[in-house]
């Protein structure tokens, strides 16, 4: 508890720099990342991150010193150049985007490595620490870095806030954006520039490889919680800010632990939890709703079968044994037991010594499903000219999802029919 308090109070200047720096960096790259991910250019950030290296080396070669502003400028230029080269390759040849990304990434990085090693072997005393650019170290943040981070973060956030509507349009509907006269090309360029800026600044604290995680992971996670861009941006930024602070806290309690990888580790875990657990889009919730639908279908099929069994005699509430039910229709026996119990709890069927029988409520429900099935068959044969021996399968799946409104429209359309294509009676609604 003491450690946490010591961390939160931010007495130590170094803790202050690392924490604020990490939060600013993480949040601003997450905001920009939302747009890159939505435009399906998530991995471009990876290429930019690698393309920064030759810029750093060239800046050093040209000026002979490690001035952070000049190095930033150098890395910005080559990072930006990488995106331009990628665009040229994809638009002027048959090379696909992912190949262009991989190519630019490895070649730019190769140039960087060659320059870096050549500088290192040249015996220049000044060069030591140049390679720190590659792997980044949040723990080494100093006051001056914080000002750079703060300024860049502010610039990124401000641009996104001011041009939110425009960016939203070009991310979702480029053609529409073009028709209403937006300068799409220039906006795309600006968005790219912002991405490059975020990457260039971020690399110093998390390193080349992990920088793409700062762009992609929070955006991909936030995508699962909402369909609205505004909410997505805010969720991504919040997740990142929290993980940024938590990463700084981890390396505060265990100084050997690197901040950047911990930020990414926490972000990834958060993202994977989102993929699994998010309401409505998460894996678990989709699995549960699929199971719910399957069970509902099984229950409706049981009711239908009991109804069919009663149809020849008109004795709908007679009871039938499981063998009789299965003889009429193959149903998954093991799951059927629990569904029969659910049905009896719902008051649709009752059990007696001979087997199961429909209750009046059950008969009504079964009638509804059978009605929908036959209406749909009729619709297919009458309106879509499907042969009557081909319509059963389709009706079998649609009967479970037709709403009362659609049912009404179908009836009107078919002029209140009484028999289906197989000349069986369509049960009428009993209200």
């Amino acid at each position: 508890m003491n450690t946490l308090w010591e961390f939160l109070s931010m007495q130590d200047a170094n803790v202050r720099f690392v924490t604020i720096g990490s939060v600013l960096l993480a949040a601003s790259s997450a905001v920009v990342g939302c747009f890159t991910v939505l435009r399906k250019r998530a991995l471009v950030g990876d290429a930019v991150a690698h393309a920064v290296l030759p810029g750093v080396c060239l800046a050093f070669l040209l000026t002979g010193q490690k001035n952070p502003i000049i190095m930033l400028l150098g890395s910005f230029i080559t990072g930006w150049l990488a995106v331009v080269v990628m665009d040229i390759i994809t638009s002027k040849s048959r090379i696909k985007e992912d190949t262009a990304i991989g190519l630019v990434l490895s070649v730019f990085f190769g140039i960087g490595i060659l320059l870096l090693t050549a500088i290192q072997h040249s015996g220049n005393e000044q060069q030591s620490g140049l390679d720190k650019f590659l792997f980044g170290s949040a723990a080494a943040l100093v006051g001056q870095d914080l000002y750079t981070f703060g300024a860049v973060a502010l610039l990124l956030l401000l641009s996104v806030v001011l041009l939110y509507k425009e960016f939203k349009l070009i991310s979702f509907d480029t053609n529409y954006a073009r028709t209403i006269g937006l300068p799409v090309k220039r906006l795309e360029l600006l968005l790219t520039t912002l991405t490059v800026l975020a990457v260039v600044v971020g690399i110093q604290s998390v390193g080349v490889v992990l920088m793409s995680a700062m762009l992609i992971t929070p955006a991909a996670a936030a995508r699962f919680w909402t369909d609205r861009l505004g909410a997505m941006v805010i969720i991504a930024a919040a997740m990142s800010a929290v993980c940024g602070a938590a990463g700084a806290f981890v390396s505060f309690t265990a100084p050997a632990m690197p901040t950047g990888p911990w930020i990414v580790m926490l972000l990834s875990l958060l993202a994977i939890m989102s993929f699994l657990l998010a309401p409505s889009k998460g894996l678990l919730s989709r699995f549960l709703s699929q199971r719910r639908v399957r069970r509902q279908m099984l229950r409706e099929n049981i009711l239908k079968t009991l109804f069919h069994l009663g149809e020849p005699t008109g004795e709908y509430q007679q009871s039938y044994s499981k063998t009789q039910i299965l003889a009429r229709r193959q149903l998954p026996l093991r799951r059927m037991q629990t569904q029969l119990q659910t049905l009896s709890r719902q008051g649709f069927v009752v059990k007696d010594t001979q087997g199961w029988a429909l209750t009046p409520a059950g008969k009504k429900e079964a009638q509804r499903v059978v009605r929908l099935h036959r209406l749909w068959e009729l619709y297919l044969t009458e309106y879509l000219q499907v042969a009557s021996d081909h319509v059963h399968e389709d009706a079998e799946s649609i009967e479970h999802v037709l709403t009362p409104e659609l049912e009404k429209r179908l009836e009107e359309l078919l002029d209140y029919p009484t028999a289906d294509p197989h000349k069986t009676t369509i049960p009428q609604q009993t209200s």
């Binding site: 991910v37 399906k40 998530a42 991995l43 990876d46 690698h50 390759i89 002027k92 040849s93 048959r94 090379i95 696909k96 992912d98 190949t99 262009a100 991989g102 190519l103 990434l105 490895s106 070649v107 990085f109 190769g110 140039i111 960087g112 490595i113 060659l114 320059l115 870096l116 090693t117 050549a118 072997h121 040249s122 390679d131 590659l134 792997f135 390193g207 080349v208 490889v209 992990l210 793409s212 995680a213 762009l215 992609i216 992971t217 955006a219 991909a220 995508r223 050997a256 632990m257 690197p258 950047g260 990888p261 911990w262 990414v264 580790m265 990834s268 994977i272 889009k281 998460g282 894996l283």
Partner: protein
């Protein structure tokens, strides 16, 4: 000035180049070029864990650890994309950065016990290949260990691609037809990815991740601009890789820099040449065709 060391370095580069070219052609045709990049980063925790468990830098345990993680990485990418419905490029990005972060954290936790740092992982030094020589019991030198290892991997990959050329071809170009005639796309996806993992891992220590990515993408992309025939593409890209290894070595010697970096630079130059000059798909012939259409 071709001494024995230079010879071994170029041979190693060429072997890696040929393995990567054979697999890379299929990767870029399937639009999965970035999966190679992902695997080459995701194997890091596997290597660290193998070190921790075996306690040595023994090749076999390392290969096993890294290959496991490489395949796990492709499973995770597929799972996130297909089952959890994460957009495909995002699922690649999330997976490999997560595994890489895990690797770095493991290195920091066991910093004292693992003789391994990120630098050597990202741009392993091919120039050290001749130093690690394999001696027999009687003390006779058999040449560098890496050359033996890469030769074995190359034979394996070559056999794989020649024997199953038809399946790889079908599942890359016409997955729907492949499924229709009973060739499982997912089996061949995982076999291909397994081969990519194996190559990445084997080449890792000697040439580094970045050169593996360069070889996987560069020569195949260049060859793709030069031919429409997959068999020719495989041959051309292998050839380009060998040439790049040769020229790259001398460029590095001249600049006194990293051999891996120099080879990547040559790969970039090769692509640039094909991009501009290719008789069928180059910039110049493309423009000429366009202007012909315009004037007609």
């Amino acid at each position: 000035m071709m001494n024995l060391d230079a010879f071994w370095i170029i041979v190693t580069g060429s072997l890696v180049a040929m393995c990567c070219s054979l697999l890379g052609c299929f990767l870029i045709l399937r639009r999965m070029a970035m999966v190679g990049d992902a695997i080459s980063h995701a194997v890091l925790p596997g290597i660290v864990l193998a070190f921790l468990f075996s306690g040595t830098r023994e090749v076999w345990s390392m290969l096993l650890g890294a290959a496991t993680l490489g395949v796990a990485c492709t499973f995770l990418i597929e799972f996130l994309h297909k089952k959890a419905r994460v957009q495909s490029d995002a699922s690649i990005g999330v997976t490999f950065t997560w595994l890489f972060a895990l690797g770095i954290i493991l290195i920091s936790v066991y910093a004292g016990k693992v003789d391994l740092d990120q630098d050597c992982v990202l741009y392993g030094e091919i120039a050290y290949v001749p130093l690690d020589v394999w001696f027999t019991e009687s003390g006779q030198s058999l040449g560098p260990r890496t050359v033996w290892l890469m030769s074995g991997v190359f034979l394996l990959i070559l056999t794989f691609v020649t024997l199953f050329y038809r399946q790889l071809y079908l599942t890359s170009f016409d997955p729907a037809f492949a499924v229709a005639i009973g060739v499982s796309t997912s089996v061949w996806y995982y076999l291909l990815m397994g081969a990519v993992s194996l190559t990445t891992v084997a080449a890792f220590e000697s040439v580094g991740a970045i050169l593996v990515v360069a070889f996987l993408v560069g020569p195949p992309a260049t060859a793709y601009l030069l031919t429409d025939d997959l068999k020719k593409m495989l041959l051309i890209s292998s050839g380009l890789g060998v040439v790049a290894s040769f020229l790259g070595f001398y460029l590095a010697l001249w600049l006194d820099g990293s051999v891996a970096g120099a080879i990547s630079v040559i790969i970039g130059l090769e692509f640039l040449l094909a991009f501009v000059l290719s008789p069928s798909h180059g910039l110049i012939s493309r423009n000429r065709k366009l202007s012909k259409v315009a004037s007609a």
